[in-house]
Each structure stands twice: as structure tokens, then as C-alpha cells.
């Protein structure tokens, strides 16, 4: 069950944020989300996020692209209408393969790149006309925001966050 009340702790320095994340994790609180204006190196590790698998999807999309290129050219150039074009041997795919390699390469890259980007958009829920989910506009400029679920332990959590160097702590009721 998602908590309806959350605390927004705001920081102004990424180093302070990093040590705060480590402290909050050590106290075994669940960090719902962190908003930063730029990538903070090592933040995912400190939060304990699972590594991304997008490179694996990209490899598989590349294989799909390679297969598409091979099947397509084998059908068009060898099976369907094997013409003699400038003396190139079109008796089998292998015999004429060097001429197909540039296309095989490009389609591999094309599929790997584009499908991976689309996967990224889908997984991170980004599309045009998407409503921005920004709790505080300052996090796009120079503030860092840590969102922690509360469950009747506001006071001790607020004290902990204050200790970690938060410049601002807000209790937000998400139900409204």
C-alpha cells in the first residue's frame, strides 16, 4: 500500500544529498523517489537501485536488425529475382555477401539504437503531452528533492532529515 503522506526533503548540494541518502538508507527508511537537476554520479548505487538491462535489450534488437537485413536481401537479391548486375555473383547469399555487409551493419545499428530509445521512453514513461511529474520546479535548476513515505513517524524522520543537512522539509499529503 502506498503511503498517502510523504516528506519532501530539499537539499542544495549533491554531496550532501549523497551522504543523506546513505544515512536514510542506513536507518532503513524507504526512499520513494529523488529528483535532481542533473545526473548525480553514484546515486543509483547509494539508493540500491537495480542495474539497468537496457544494454541487453539493445543487443537483442541488433540481432533482430541483422536478421531483417539478411532475410530481406536474401529474398530480394538471391531468391526473388537473381539478376546479373555488373557481374556480381547472385547464385547464393554467401557469394555476394560482401556487397550486403554495409546494409547488414547499418540495419543492425539502426534497430539497436532506435528500438532501445523507444524502450527507454516506454519504460520511463516519457512522451509528448505527458504531464510533468515535478513536485517542485526548483529541482530542475539547483535543488535536490528526496521523497520519503511516512507512516506515523513524521517527527523522528524530520529530525533525521534535518541532521542530514536538508534546507527545507515539507510534509505533503498526496491524497489531495
Amino acid at each position: 500500500m502506498e503511503a498517502s503522506k510523504v516528506i519532501h526533503a530539499i537539499y542544495t548540494d549533491d554531496d550532501v544529498l549523497m551522504s543523506a541518502v546513505k544515512k536514510v538508507k542506513a536507518e532503513r527508511y524507504h526512499i520513494e523517489e529523488i529528483y535532481t537537476p542533473f545526473p548525480v554520479h553514484g546515486l543509483d548505487k547509494a539508493m540500491g537501485l537495480a542495474p539497468t538491462r537496457i544494454a541487453i535489450t539493445s543487443f537483442m534488437y541488433g540481432l533482430v536488425g541483422l536478421t531483417v537485413a539478411i532475410v530481406m536481401m536474401n529474398f530480394i537479391m538471391i531468391k526473388d529475382w537473381p539478376q546479373n548486375i555488373g557481374g556480381k555473383p547472385s547464385f547464393s547469399y554467401l557469394q555476394n555477401m560482401p556487397a550486403f555487409v554495409p546494409i547488414m551493419f547499418e540495419l543492425t545499428v539502426f534497430f539497436a539504437a532506435h528500438l532501445m530509445v523507444i524502450t527507454f521512453y516506454l519504460r520511463s514513461r516519457m512522451w509528448p503531452f505527458k504531464k510533468a511529474e515535478n513536485p517542485d520546479p526548483r529541482t530542475t535548476d539547483d535543488h535536490f528533492l528526496m521523497e520519503i513515505a511516512v507512516d506515523g513517524n513524521e517527527v523522528e524522520l524530520e529530525n533525521l532529515l534535518k541532521e542530514t543537512g536538508a534546507v527545507e522539509i515539507n510534509l505533503v499529503d498526496k491524497a489531495h
Partner: protein, 440 residues
């Protein structure tokens, strides 16, 4: 300080002795008389079945006199190819180990010129490897020149005055391709590389105890200058020492292609020696992140090599101009397995093994991939030299393997001796702190 373990030293001596014995055996068994070659060919013909014999008989009736001439010519041709084999085997192995050292010298200069922050902990290993360059390159040049002076033109046909007298194409190139100028050019290349190596090493050691960064700055400057010199001389070296075995053929991207081969094998050897030293606890400041970076270079330059190999092959295959395409036709007809096998070893294998970031951090994994890459690039050099010298009489047998053993032993001895001469951490380098804390 590194101490050369007695075990490894003995091992290198054993390699050298085995190599010398095998090379000697190769030279002793390669001088076949005319009659011996004649019976050898007759036997081979017999084994292949009567098919070609029929053709020979038919032609004999047509032109008795011409056939005898042809027969004699053919036997002499094969006799020459058999005699070439130990020379070529020695030359391929000598060049292979020389190019590892040269590749690392270029890599070293690039690290300085780019002021790379990750690699200074590996500088002493690189300097150790480049110690082989001077002896190695002199041996290559000596074999090349000897093949045209004390040998019977066993590597370069353009060195044979009788061939040149009947060959308009080589005559046209003889302004460039003549032994004197060839030797002078070779000495200029070697001198330039060795001078850079000498001063870079000197400044690197001086920087250990220096109070300021002046030695580092000097290395930076000479590295930039060396890289310019290198790219010219490396190109010309590849025309001289490799491409001129086929004096009728030329390719414009050949220099780059040879460069890619030497660069990737050099980096692979760097990885292997680093892993070896690390496993012996001599490099406590090298961590898996450095290994990861070196393996990335192995991966990327394997692909770069393939790119150049394919570009050269595909352009010539596609346009199919007779004077160019013979180069690949001989390789395709007589060297199918090494020619296609090296593409698998140098491209397919590394791209699949080293693509995963986690695998690049596992030493034994990098060692396995590295050994395959090294064998693949030996075959690459083999494919460049052998078709022009021994033709279809190639085999990877005693002369080839013992030449590899000989130069491998020499390489290990020279490199690990050089490693004992200075501390393995270039501690005065201004980037050393960054390199020690390097984390990817």
C-alpha cells in the same frame, strides 16, 4: 621493484633453444635438389589421381619442347617456394613480436599526448614492452636484408636482379624498391622510434625523483612529435616490410590496416602482462577498472581492425580489377582456412566475448580472449607474407612454430628484464594519483 623470476627466465631460455633448434631444422630441410622436388611433385600428382596427368600428357603431344621448359620452370618455382618457407616463417614471427612493441610505443605516446588519467599506473609495463622494439626491429630488418644478400631472394622478389631485368613493373618501382634505399629507410624508421623510446623512458625515470613537472612536459612534447613521425614511418614501414613482398600489388589503406593489427596485439599483450604481474602481486595499484579499460581498447580495436580489413577486401572484391584482385584470389584459393579463420578469431570471437562490461573485469576471461586475438593477428601477418613467398606450399609446422617460440622467448626475456630496471609505479607522474584512484 620487479624481480625476474628464475622460472620465467628458464622458460624463456627453453623457448629460445627450442626455437633455434626448430629454425635450424627448418633451414636444413628446405634445400631440396631439382630431382627431389621432381619426385615430390610426381608423388603428389599421383595422390591427387590421374585427372591432371591426362592434361599433361595431352599437352606433351602438342608441344614437346615447350612442355619440357614448362616442366623445368614449374619445378624450379616449387623448389624456390620450399626454400622460402623457413625464411618466411622466421620473418613472420619476427615481425609479429616487433609490431607488438611498436604498437605499445604508439599507445604509450597517445596516452601522454592525450594526458590520459587512467593509464599512468601502466606506463612502466608499457615501457618494459617497448624495450623489445630496438632489438626486434633490427632483427626484422636484418632478416629482410639477409634474404636478399646471403639468401636467394627468399622474401622479396624485387631484390632479385634477374627478376627485375624481366619485369617492367618492378623496374618502374626500382627507384623506391632497391636494397640500399630499403635498408637506409629501415634504419631511419628504427632510429626514430628508438630515439623517442630512449628519451621517453629517460624522462619517465627522471620524473620519479623530480621536484617539478618539467620531465613530464618534455615527454608530452616529444610524444606529440613522435606520433606525427610514427604515422608516416609506420605507413612506409608497412609498404617496405610487408606490402613489397607482392611488388605488383598495392593498396592505399595498407598502412592503417597493419597499424590496427599492431595496435590491438600490443594492447592485448599489455593486458596479459598486466594480469600476469598483478597475479604475482607486483601491481597493487592496478585494479579491475584498469583492466576494464584495457579490455575496452582490445574490443574497440578488434572492431577497427575488422573495419579496415573488410574495407580493403570489399573495395577490391567489388571492383574486381584484375591487377588488384589477384592478391585476394591467391589468399582465397590457397589460404581459405587462415584467411577466414582470422576474421572469426579477430572479430567474431572478441566482439562476443568482450561486449559485456562484467566480462571485461574478469582476468581469466580477458586472458582467454587475448590469446585468441594474438593467434588471430599472427595469422593475419602470416596471410600477408606467406602467399607471396611460399604460395600454396604453406603449413603451420615446425619452421613456423619454432620461429614463434624463438621470438616469444626473446620477447619475454627482453621485456621482463626491462621491467626489473625500474619501479613498476611511475610515482612522479602528475596524473598518478588520479590513475591510482581510477574508478569506472
Amino acid at each position: 621493484m620487479y624481480t625476474f623470476s628464475n622460472k620465467l627466465k628458464t622458460f624463456s631460455f627453453i623457448l629460445i633453444i627450442l626455437g633455434v633448434l626448430g629454425v635450424g631444422y627448418g633451414f636444413m630441410t628446405s634445400h631440396k635438389s631439382f630431382e627431389e622436388v621432381e619426385t615430390l611433385l610426381a608423388e603428389e600428382l599421383h595422390h591427387e589421381g590421374g585427372h591432371s596427368e591426362v592434361a599433361v600428357n595431352e599437352e606433351t603431344t602438342h608441344n614437346e619442347h615447350g612442355q619440357v621448359d614448362e616442366h623445368k620452370k614449374h619445378i624450379e618455382h616449387v623448389q624456390h617456394q620450399i626454400a622460402n618457407r623457413p625464411w618466411s616463417a622466421l620473418y613472420v614471427a619476427a615481425f609479429f613480436f616487433m609490431m607488438i612493441a611498436l604498437g605499445i610505443l604508439a599507445f604509450y605516446a597517445i596516452q601522454f599526448a592525450a594526458q590520459a588519467g587512467w593509464s599512468p599506473v601502466l606506463f612502466r609495463v608499457m615501457e618494459g614492452i617497448t624495450a623489445y622494439l630496438l632489438p626486434g626491429a633490427l632483427i626484422v630488418l636484418a632478416i629482410a636484408v639477409a634474404s636478399g644478400t646471403i639468401g636467394h631472394y627468399n622474401l622479396f622478389t624485387w631484390m632479385d636482379p634477374e627478376v627485375v631485368a624481366h619485369d617492367k613493373l618492378i623496374q618502374g618501382k626500382s627507384g623506391f624498391l632497391n636494397i640500399g634505399w630499403f635498408a637506409v629507410r629501415g634504419i631511419i624508421f628504427i632510429a626514430g622510434w628508438s630515439v623517442y623510446r630512449h628519451f621517453a623512458r629517460k624522462f619517465s625515470i627522471a620524473q620519479d625523483t623530480a621536484e617539478d613537472n618539467s620531465n613530464f612536459k618534455k615527454t608530452f612534447r616529444i610524444s606529440a612529435a613522435f606520433l606525427v613521425f610514427f604515422i608516416y614511418t609506420e605507413s612506409m614501414m608497412s609498404w617496405d616490410w610487408i606490402m613489397s613482398v607482392d611488388p605488383h600489388w598495392f593498396s592505399t589503406l595498407f598502412g592503417w590496416y597493419v597499424f590496427a593489427s599492431m595496435f590491438v596485439s600490443g594492447i592485448t599483450v599489455l593486458a596479459l602482462i598486466t594480469i600476469y604481474l598483478k597475479s604475482r602481486n607486483y601491481l597493487e595499484f592496478v585494479n579491475e577498472n584498469h583492466l576494464h579499460d584495457v579490455a575496452k581498447f582490445m574490443f574497440a580495436f578488434s572492431i577497427f581492425w575488422t573495419y579496415l580489413w573488410f574495407s580493403q577486401f570489399m573495395l577490391i572484391w567489388y571492383s574486381n580489377i584484375p591487377e588488384e584482385v589477384t592478391y585476394f584470389i591467391t589468399r582465397f584459393n590457397d589460404y581459405k582456412l587462415p584467411f577466414l579463420g582470422m576474421v572469426v578469431m579477430n572479430f567474431v570471437f572478441p566482439i562476443l566475448m568482450l561486449m559485456n562490461a562484467d566480462y571485461k573485469r574478469i582476468p581469466w576471461f580477458v586472458v582467454m580472449a587475448g590469446l585468441v586475438i594474438l593467434v588471430g593477428h599472427y595469422i593475419d601477418i602470416f596471410n600477408m607474407i606467406m602467399p607471396a613467398t611460399v604460395g600454396d606450399r604453406w603449413f603451420i609446422g615446425i619452421p613456423e612454430i619454432s620461429s614463434i617460440l624463438l621470438f616469444a622467448g626473446l620477447f619475454i626475456f627482453v621485456v621482463f628484464t626491462a621491467l626489473t630496471k625500474a619501479p613498476l609505479l611511475a610515482k612522479g607522474n602528475p596524473l598518478i594519483k588520479e590513475s591510482k584512484d581510477f574508478h569506472y
